[in-house]
């Protein structure tokens, strides 16, 4: 079955297949008859379409009620520049990039990502979940050569892209510490014992140790204190 994509605000003209302009036809939108204002001869005219006009449009020959033409109209927008970010929370294993569109397009989009390190193309393996994310394994470490990531988003109405360029170290950002627990100290109401773990996503804390910073405040005060 036929799908037709149109921009919000566009004027859409649908012909009833091979029927002449002066043929007697009936148009329906999602099964409901369409009336005079939308008709110009046997053509269906939709001016300044909006999202609510997405749906199935069908054209029947006047007397025989044969279906002469059918299309699914999807009203949407071309993509705006996507928002892209890359981060290594598992250094030195690799990094991931994730993206989203700042505003919805209301029609299907495909995303294509390319990662280049110097002259080498690298494969960004798409994650099953979430869908807008892919990950790359580092082949080289300690390189001074920058990485260049380009994301292109395409739909039936247009395309757009964005590029990030960065050094290996610049995107390193571990996940937060895990199992953060604050326990009162027996017989000392002015003390707390705080314990925590390295984030489990950080693969080698011995070779790449993490530094932690702790701040605290009594609920009744607004100022933080730093340990």
């Amino acid at each position: 079955s036929h799908i037709q994509y149109e921009r919000v605000g566009a004027d859409v003209t649908m012909k009833c297949g091979s029927m002449d302009w002066d043929a007697a036809v009936t148009w329906t939108a999602n099964g409901t008859d369409m009336n005079e204002p939308y008709l110009n001869g046997s053509y269906l005219i939709l001016k300044n379409v909006d999202l609510s006009q997405s749906g199935q449009y069908s054209c029947y020959e006047g007397s025989s009620w044969h279906l002469k033409y059918q299309t699914y109209l999807r009203v949407g927008m071309p993509p705006k520049e996507p928002v892209l970010m890359c981060r290594s929370n598992n250094y030195p294993k690799g990094f991931y990039c994730s993206w989203h569109l700042p505003t919805p397009t209301y029609i299907p989009n495909t995303f294509n990502i390319s990662v280049i390190h110097g002259t080498k193309d690298m494969v960004c393996e798409k994650d099953a979940v979430p869908k807008n994310r892919c990950h790359i394994r580092y082949i080289q470490l300690f390189s001074t050569v920058k990485y260049k990531v380009t994301l292109t988003v395409t739909n039936a109405l247009g395309k757009n892209s964005t590029t990030l360029t960065f050094d290996e170290f610049a995107i390193v950002k571990p996940d937060p510490p895990e199992s953060v627990v604050a326990k009162p100290v027996p017989n000392n109401p002015r003390r707390l014992e705080v314990s925590w773990q390295n984030p489990s996503s950080w693969p080698d804390p011995e070779s790449f140790p993490l530094k932690f910073f702790l701040r605290y405040r009594p609920l009744i005060l607004d100022q933080w204190q730093h340990v």
Partner: protein
């Protein structure tokens, strides 16, 4: 590397590694500061891409986590020996170009050169502990490269400092790997097995 480590050897290795790690950390911080000063004094663009220059050891490495302890030490040693020569050359060029006009930059370069020499010594000591012969420094070495223009000298200097900044990070990680307790057999990470 057949013999198990004696306790004193293990202790000495740990001691050399932790001093080396601290030295690498300080070196990294000083080189990063020097990079900023160098870019400014030499009138360079900080974001300029510098093509890999012959003779400048690249810090980039594949399969870093699979390297043996000995490989790490040998690669580090070769790199820092090269940096020692390159920095000495940069000092010389800087004196020629700027004379005494920029004593600050010269002092900063000399300070980093000193740290590179100290780190080289650490590496040699660690290699002695591994009962490895220390590769001799080539007396004649490769023929001296053709004389570069002043601009090319500056760009190469930028490349040298950038790679050294990366090497300092890599070295700290290498030493941490080396400092990890040996497996139960007592053999420190030794020569790679042949495939």
């Amino acid at each position: 590397m057949a013999a198990a480590d004696s306790p004193s050897t293990a202790l000495r290795r740990r001691d050399l590694c932790s001093r080396g790690i601290r030295l690498a950390g300080k070196m990294r911080a000083d080189v990063v500061d020097l990079l900023d000063a160098y870019v400014e004094r030499q009138g360079l663009d900080a974001s300029a891409s510098v093509a890999a220059v012959e003779g400048v050891p690249l810090a980039a490495v594949e399969r870093w986590d699979e390297q043996t302890g000995t490989q790490r030490l040998l690669e580090n040693l070769a790199a820092y020996r090269a940096f020692r020569a390159l920095l000495a050359q940069m000092l010389e060029e800087q004196r020629e170009q700027l004379g005494e006009a920029d004593a600050g930059l010269g002092r900063a370069l000399a300070a980093v050169l000193l740290q590179v020499s100290a780190f080289t010594y650490h590496l040699e000591e660690l290699l002695r502990l591994e009962s490895r012969g220390i590769p001799g420094e080539e007396e004649d070495g490769p023929p001296p490269p053709p004389r570069l223009s002043i601009f090319e000298q500056k760009l190469r200097g930028l490349g040298v400092l950038r790679e050294l900044a990366q090497w300092a990070v890599r070295s700290a990680r290498d030493l941490r790997q080396l400092a990890k307790p040996s497996p139960a057999t007592g053999a420190a990470p030794g020569l790679p097995e042949s495939p």
